[in-house]
Symmetry: C2
Subunit: 406 residues, 2 copies
């Protein structure tokens, strides 16, 4: 049985009219004789309203009751979608997590799906039914309602695709797909037709607007093709798939940006094992997210300079942690706000030499100073002055021919 998972996000089911539209989309797939499993988020705004109620009840609202509370949002959306399909003459019904069941770990508000029982849903599919499954939730071994953390309903869709060995998982959302860079920052940004999981993961903020990294990673591990598209247009979206499915790679697939970063340099740190750990352990404990880390080669073999970036909002906290921790020894501390990380991402760079050089040359031509460099197999990131971000983005987007139709 070839199964397709269709997942609809909160804005896609954000009103009665939109739910009717979603029913039309489902009907169109049904007419193409796909076996469908539909997953829905809560209607947009509903979850926030429920969370607001919870905050008024208690500033320390029970996490198990929180899950009971917010899980009603998806239940409402699923019943409305199913009823609309029935109205259109199709066989459909809502399937609540406990009815399937979708089993999760026990941790409330942040559970993980660890099993989906297939028997009832498969029977229902065989009878020609279209199951509408509540996203974002499950039940734990104590038969209590859980909600899953990051990734939400996307994670539900990916796990359904995994357990039912679905041919494809279509994520309907309010954006048309993944772009070469943020269209709000560069009008010439183009929608990417096909992208590998790895590139998508490296896209960081750019990709995260479309899908949480945790869900992309789950899809990658289970080799599930994901199609991201908009409920509001009929245009094709972006296919996220394994590298080997992608022919005619561009060298660079996209350019991502981070802003509001700060750079911290520790000058004259002892160059011996365990030093980096002694610095980053207290930061991690205090939930400071460290991004780029660069350690220079020690000239004299005794001392080294360590540079890393954090979000500017964490700057004061970080400063205090470093200065108050006596295990961290250094000669000088340099803090710099208003830096920006710009990254070019593409699996094409693995087989194409000279990408790093082209990137650096492009920035040099624009007289943009590179403060820190960090590279991975499919990504090159540089830290630059925040003022230069736009100039750098335009130049790199052009250099790597991302303006062109893809």
């Amino acid at each position: 049985m070839k199964i397709v998972i269709l997942k609809f996000g909160g804005t896609s089911v954000g009103s009665i009219e939109r739910i009717k539209n979603v029913a039309k989309i489902i009907n169109a797939y049904h007419k193409k004789r796909y076996k469908l499993i539909v997953v829905s988020s809560a209607m947009s705004g509903v979850t926030n309203d429920l969370i607001s109620k919870s905050k008024q009840i208690s500033d320390n609202f029970s996490s198990s009751e929180y899950d009971v509370l917010v899980s009603t949002g998806e239940q409402v959306a699923c019943s409305l979608i199913a009823a609309r399909l029935i109205h259109l003459g199709l066989k459909s019904r809502s399937w609540l997590s406990w009815q399937i069941p979708i089993m999760t770990t026990s941790l409330h508000k942040n559970a993980k799906i660890n099993a989906i029982y297939k028997r009832k849903i498969l029977n229902y599919l065989k009878k020609g039914g279209i199951p509408i499954v509540t996203g974002f939730q499950g039940v734990n071994e104590n038969e209590r309602v859980t909600t899953i953390g990051r990734g939400g309903s996307d994670a539900s869709a990916i796990m359904l695709a995994k357990f039912f060995k679905a041919e494809r998982c279509v994520i309907y959302t309010d954006v048309e797909g993944v772009y070469t860079t943020d269209p709000n920052k560069l009008k010439k940004a183009k929608k990417i037709k096909v992208i590998s999981y790895e590139e998508m993961l490296e896209m960081a903020s750019l990709g995260a607007k479309v899908m949480q990294p945790v869900s992309i990673q789950d899809a990658r591990l289970n080799r599930i093709d994901i199609e991201v598209k908009s409920t509001f247009t009929k245009k094709s979206g972006t296919l996220i798939t394994k590298r080997s499915n992608i022919i005619n790679n561009k060298i660079i697939t996209g350019i991502s940006l981070t802003q509001n970063d700060s750079k911290i340099s520790l000058i004259g740190v002892k160059d011996k094992p365990g030093v980096a750990a002694s610095i980053f352990k207290p930061l991690s404990k205090n939930l400071v997210n460290v991004d780029m880390v660069v350690q220079n080669i020690s000239a004299n073999g005794k001392e080294t300079d360590l540079t890393f970036t954090i979000k500017t909002e964490d700057l004061n906290k970080t400063k205090k942690i470093i200065q108050s921790n006596k295990n961290i020894k250094f000669r000088k501390l340099i803090l710099k706000k208003n830096v920006s990380k710009i990254s070019v991402i593409g699996v094409g760079m693995i087989t194409t030499p000279g990408v790093t050089f082209r990137m650096f040359q492009t920035l040099a031509n624009k007289k943009i100073n590179i403060q820190v460099i960090s590279t991975s197999e499919i990504k090159i990131s540089v830290l630059i002055d925040k003022r230069d971000t736009k100039k750098a983005l335009i130049a790199l987007h052009k250099e790597f021919k991302l303006h062109n139709k893809r």
Copy 2:
């Protein structure tokens, strides 16, 4: 284990502030060392909002999905109550129907509870927990969510009281209890402290504002004491109990009214078996609710006059049914709008002769003409002109000393 059921209606949990108040009420019972099972309705307005959504999706909304949809209302209320109790330092949790489970018949939108599994709740009570149970719903043998029809959450509370052999079932609502007559129609109406199930059932509209007859009947059959009281005051309410628990009965407990009635008289009907049936069968089929029925003694043994009352809104329909049905033979049809039924109810009349006479004399003194009389063991109803209703109500309320403190 002595168990008390506390049921809160929609207005009682109609806002966050009210839910906090409900938590205080529960806490007060808890401090008195009662073992509590709490049942809640949805926050007022929520169910109507969900129903409105369903109507926008389809004018023939699937009844099974309707139940999935509206049952979320109680789930939200229960999670908020439980979380508030946890906030106050108590052990509490929501119990959804499928978690207990509360089993119902399979008919959606109008299911009946036929079993409540006790094991999990009893274990939870033994551990000192306060279970907050979703009213108005259950699951059927197909593991689908059902909602129960008339009586709603009251019926849930009564059935919980039955299965757990509760000592008492307290119905918290937005009225202070049952009154001798409608306080909106007569300011001197007094709250009744104790009333029997049978009187409560005979109170019809008067009682129905407080509780659906079907729930009272269930309570009567299972000998469950019901206390009806308001969440908004600390005043005692009305206890509904078996007759033998009531000492010092007043002769008359209350006076109920119906308005917008019409009277239909069929003059010269053949006086033979099956005639009444031939008239009422087509009315019943057409959902016309017949209230008082009086058949006069036949003078000549061949013909009789038949009079009955219906709601005025059904008058035209009834007229057509009678005139178009050739099985119904009569000489003359008399229709009269603007009649009103006034009933005095009280178990005291069983042992006190002369109540009928006192009622008729009181009305005669006020020159009020009685058009139809109908009596039961504990109720005397008369049909009068609608214009005389208020006058009759005042006179009877005074005659039977209902003005006095009870």
